[in-house]
Symmetry: C2
Subunit: 343 residues, 2 copies
């Protein structure tokens, strides 16, 4: 029988860690104008990407970013055994538009804005277990698509409270493989901590940070418990898109369990824009947000040697417009991935 690699309550440790051999980031103009603009592989000034509608445009972001990731590691799409993909559109329509051309076996996944963590977790298991030589994990979001789907069409010009976030238009992809490629340093996934749905009763679709913070806290606390390790061995704890409001709640929740993460903390949603100048309220969000920040800023910090090990925790709010209108709460979920630099 296979050796059990599951540890603790919610985690897997990869002793023969899958390598992140290729990656790519792509985003829209607003993200390009932000502080990470120069780190993102490709900035697209047309949010329609030459398509007839935003839903198809989101697919174009995914398609292009997968090509960037393939190019970076010198693979062609025919060498990829599985695509694990997701987006925020109902029925994963962004993936349907974006991945069709590739004609590869595909697993669609949904964890709201936590989806990059989910796709990388499953992809890492598939590579580590020998089910694939190469897996692509890709997610995206698109601000106009998300507004139309979850709130109001942007043409309505609805105002938002300051607790709301701005959905990132962009996509990030990683290619996982059993062996490193080229010369080092290399990046690898040494563990995952998979989230549970957490529901603290929040019903405010304009305050997703509050919906997601309990899920992030669950993953962070479970992670250090399962791996029986200290926060000192990590350079950064990076959440997906809690924004400024969710961040403060996360600090409170972890402090009640005697874990102080504040000194190591970063949130992709807070990093991607100049929040005040760019008028994005509590920060960026969407499953493109953590995917783009991971494949631009976070990988750069790891590859430069500034960081050696991070816990990357995309966070998702399981908002359904129908369920929300029926008066239900918005639970959160988060998925943690340990990424390490190898010399």
């Amino acid at each position: 029988m296979a050796k059990i690699k599951h540890i603790g309550q919610q985690s897997v440790r990869f002793e023969e860690a899958p390598y992140i051999i290729g990656w790519g980031s792509i985003a829209g103009k607003k993200e390009g104008d932000g502080p990470l603009g120069s780190y993102i592989d490709q900035i697209e000034t047309d949010s329609m990407m030459g398509k007839d509608n935003w839903e198809a445009a989101e697919g174009e972001f995914q398609k292009k970013v997968v090509k960037i990731a393939l190019h970076r590691c010198g693979l062609n799409i025919g060498q990829i055994q599985y695509i694990v993909c997701g987006d925020l559109q109902s029925q994963l329509t962004g993936c349907v538009h974006g991945m069709m051309e590739f004609q590869r076996p595909m697993f669609g996944v949904y964890g709201a804005c936590s989806t990059m963590g989910e796709s990388m977790s499953l992809g890492a298991m598939m590579v580590n277990g020998g089910f694939a030589n190469y897996v692509v994990a890709v997610t995206s979001s698109h601000t106009e698509v998300a507004e139309r789907q979850f709130r109001y069409p942007v043409a309505y010009g609805s105002q938002k409270p300051l607790s709301a976030t701005w959905t990132v238009t962009g996509s990030g992809a990683v290619i996982l493989g059993q062996q490193p490629r080229g010369k080092g340093p290399w990046l690898k996934i040494t563990g995952v901590t998979t989230g549970k749905m957490m529901d603290f009763g929040v019903q405010d679709s304009m305050n997703m940070g509050a919906c997601m913070a309990p899920a992030a806290a669950n993953v962070i606390l479970a992670h250090f418990d399962d791996f029986d390790t200290s926060i000192d061995t990590y350079d950064k704890i990076v959440t997906g898109d809690l924004g400024t409001v969710g961040r403060d709640i996360l600090f409170e929740l972890t402090k009640t369990k005697k874990l102080d993460i504040q000194g190591k903390y970063m949130d992709c949603g807070i990093e991607i824009y100049n929040n005040e100048e760019q008028d994005v309220h509590a920060g960026g969000s969407g499953c493109g947000c953590s995917a783009v920040v991971l494949t631009s800023l976070l990988f750069r910090k790891l590859l430069s040697g500034e960081w050696k090990k991070i816990l990357f925790i995309p966070t998702g709010a399981l908002l359904s417009k129908i369920s929300f209108n029926e008066g239900n709460t918005i639970p959160g979920i988060a998925h943690g991935v340990v990424i390490e630099r190898e010399e």
Copy 2:
């Protein structure tokens, strides 16, 4: 490094096959009145399941069926390392309602009505790779939820053409484990063939069978190619919910590749209702359809010894209401799972 278990273009062979140690089926009154009524573990006469709305009711079906599956193998939910779940609701709201109580690490997956094949494929990899001792794979659908989401609210009384199918109200769950439990015969998953999205340009949301048939054909043809085996070694080739219209297209498509599956063929969507008497037009559909038929009729045939080996291929039509209204086609996807009886 892990031994590569991936074979051919789209498949994995499990030499140490994960066992299906627990399972459960639950469905609504219409399914109970159908030919499989006496095989389904539990029939619920109230499609609201005592809840305020259909979306939450669908979650109740999932929750109850997981409890049935746990009871069957004598496990408790705390022993389950991962739940891999999906449904047809946008943002997997059925799973959100149904799985919250269990508080287990969860991967949400979406492959439209093919989702039971996807959840079992990923669950089998997780168990075989040593990432879990026990995984639950569960999917559901609900006819009123699906009508409201994809077509028109049922209260409108819209008529449907004869190519349309009836979404099954019900849920099926399997529990996968590394070792068999109790005395035999046992059921195990010896391989999977993962589908690609296939788009033959169909734009008719009332003819999902035609959207899905090319995806089913792709998986079936790839399966026999990848495993280099003959259809003679299988007792049945069982698709998810092609219905009578999709079935005939599948026969045509496989025949052009010199594979005659007609003598071994079964479709869950054709089995679950008495199509003419129950006025369901082309048959049943929904990711609850294949899940319920698998965990009632198909497992019974395997356990009785009437069958020894089947290829189970849930089929999905990636219909998005937004994308459909934008004039796009409806691609299909299918996921194949080989289930064998062990004495």
